[in-house]
């Protein structure tokens, strides 16, 4: 399924060369993963060995490095607290194994693609038995955002337009089509 990424180029930002690894990498199989998810994971791990695909690690918290850079360049100091909020967690990793978003992303920087395999757990329910539309929106936002980030540096979602083709039962593989428009951030202009 095609994931379209519309990107406006402003400035290229230095990528974060070495991020502090302060947490467990959650983009790896755990007992809650279905056989389908595991199969897709294995398939793409093979692709990583063969060519230009890479598995993207995923942590519960933004690294302190990222926090400092973001704070310094983009936010009015009056608005943002001094320290990283204690207990703050990346939204899509704020769940125990198997209960929320189980996902892994692979990127191909040559083709500018990001693939995300996603399995929604019982705490993402909307209509009984089905995944909440907002949960789907969140994982799509995360995927398209990762794609844009790898292409152009720090990005923020400007517009998200999702057409839901069919309801997604919990614990099934994601099938959705989305277009995302991302603005890139100019370090010389504050956001707030």
């Amino acid at each position: 399924f095609p994931l379209l990424c519309g990107i406006t180029v402003r400035t290229l930002l230095p990528s974060f060369a070495s991020e502090e690894v302060i947490d467990k990498d959650h983009a790896l199989p755990n007992p809650s993963w279905s056989t389908d998810l595991r199969f897709l994971f294995d398939q793409f791990m093979k692709k990583c060995e063969e060519g230009s695909w890479k598995r993207l690690p995923s942590y519960k918290r933004n690294s302190t490095q990222k926090f400092q850079d973001f704070k310094t360049h983009y936010v009015d100091p009056k608005l943002l607290k001094e320290e990283q909020m204690p207990g703050a967690q990346l939204f899509t990793r704020s769940f125990e194994d198997g209960l929320g978003f189980e996902y892994v992303m692979f990127c191909n920087d040559v083709e500018n693609r990001v693939v995300c395999f996603f399995q929604g757990g019982p705490h993402l329910q909307g209509m009984p038995g089905f995944t909440h539309g907002g949960a789907i929106a969140a994982i799509i936002d995360a995927t398209v955002g990762t794609c844009a980030f790898r292409a152009r540096g720090i990005v923020m979602t400007a517009n998200l337009n999702i057409n839901y083709k069919r309801p997604i039962p919990l614990e099934e593989t994601l099938y959705s089509e989305a277009t995302g428009l991302f603005i890139t951030l100019d370090p010389n202009k504050k956001l707030t």
């Binding site: 608005l79 967690q89 939204f91 757990g121 038995g129 909440h132 998200l160």
Partner: protein, 253 residues
């Protein structure tokens, strides 16, 4: 090679029997099919239950949120607004009713030792620790077909450091759409969402979501939402959404 990978992904997803598109369900005339009026839907929604209502103030609510909540509570007496209860699962909200046959989801290949059977939570009540996730309450106006949601995102909803994840705000808007669509006209499933982000929403601060039903036609409910600060000086996002109308059926005794 890439295409094959995607085809595999798509095929693997289709284990459960599912209508190809929801449109194959019989199209009924608007007069007869969706006979449940807003009033009957609302009174059923508000009937007394033992389920815990999460849409009530707790220690994590900011003074801003508390005072605006009190304001709206007053309006429930005088101006026709209704405070909606919010339970842990949508199943609790629609007790005694079920989805039309053909839409019952089964999870064929679930890893069963993760959560106790029945520990399903509606996404916006996924984080139960007060103040950490979604703190919100929705007020609905049956005649005007409008809703107001007071939303305070907690630190577990973070995206950019110190601010709410775009997806968490989208989910809150989708959920407000969902309850509004259901009560205004039996809207059940999201068909589309189009959200335009304007400003970042700081974690712990209050966003007021104004939702209204723009039109109902062709088995679809069209709604729009503005998410802004209490003083309306900062707009966080604007969103439009379309929901599919579908009548729930009574569960067989």
């Amino acid at each position: 090679m890439m295409k094959k990978g995607f085809q595999v992904a798509a095929r693997l997803g289709h284990h459960t029997p599912f209508p190809r598109t929801l449109r194959i369900l019989p199209r009924l005339s608007s007069a007869s099919a969706f006979g449940s009026s807003t009033d009957s839907l609302v009174s059923r929604f508000l009937r007394k239950t033992d389920f815990k209502d999460y849409a009530l103030p707790n220690a994590s609510w900011s003074p801003d949120m508390l005072s605006l909540y009190q304001e709206f509570l007053k309006k429930t007496n005088s101006e026709g607004w209704i405070k909606l209860p919010s339970f842990k699962s949508n199943r609790d909200h629609v007790q005694g009713l079920k989805l039309p046959s053909g839409l019952i989801a089964t999870s064929a290949h679930l890893s069963s030792d993760i959560s106790p059977p029945g520990d399903y939570r509606i996404f916006t009540r996924c984080i139960q620790v007060a103040g950490q996730g979604y703190e919100y309450v929705i007020f609905f106006h049956p005649t005007k077909k409008k809703s107001i949601c007071l939303f305070q995102p907690g630190p577990y909803l973070e995206g950019p450091p110190g601010f709410a994840h775009g997806g968490s705000l989208t989910a809150m808007i989708d959920e407000t759409f969902s309850k509004t669509a259901y009560l205004a006209g039996e809207g059940l499933f999201t068909m589309s969402l189009n959200i335009r982000f304007k400003n970042l929403l700081p974690v712990g601060s209050l966003a007021v979501l104004n939702v209204q039903v723009d039109k109902i036609e062709d088995q679809k409910l069209y709604m729009s939402c503005i998410a802004q600060s209490r003083d309306q000086q900062t707009v966080f996002a604007k969103c439009s959404g379309v929901f599919l109308q579908l009548s729930l059926e009574k569960e067989s005794p």
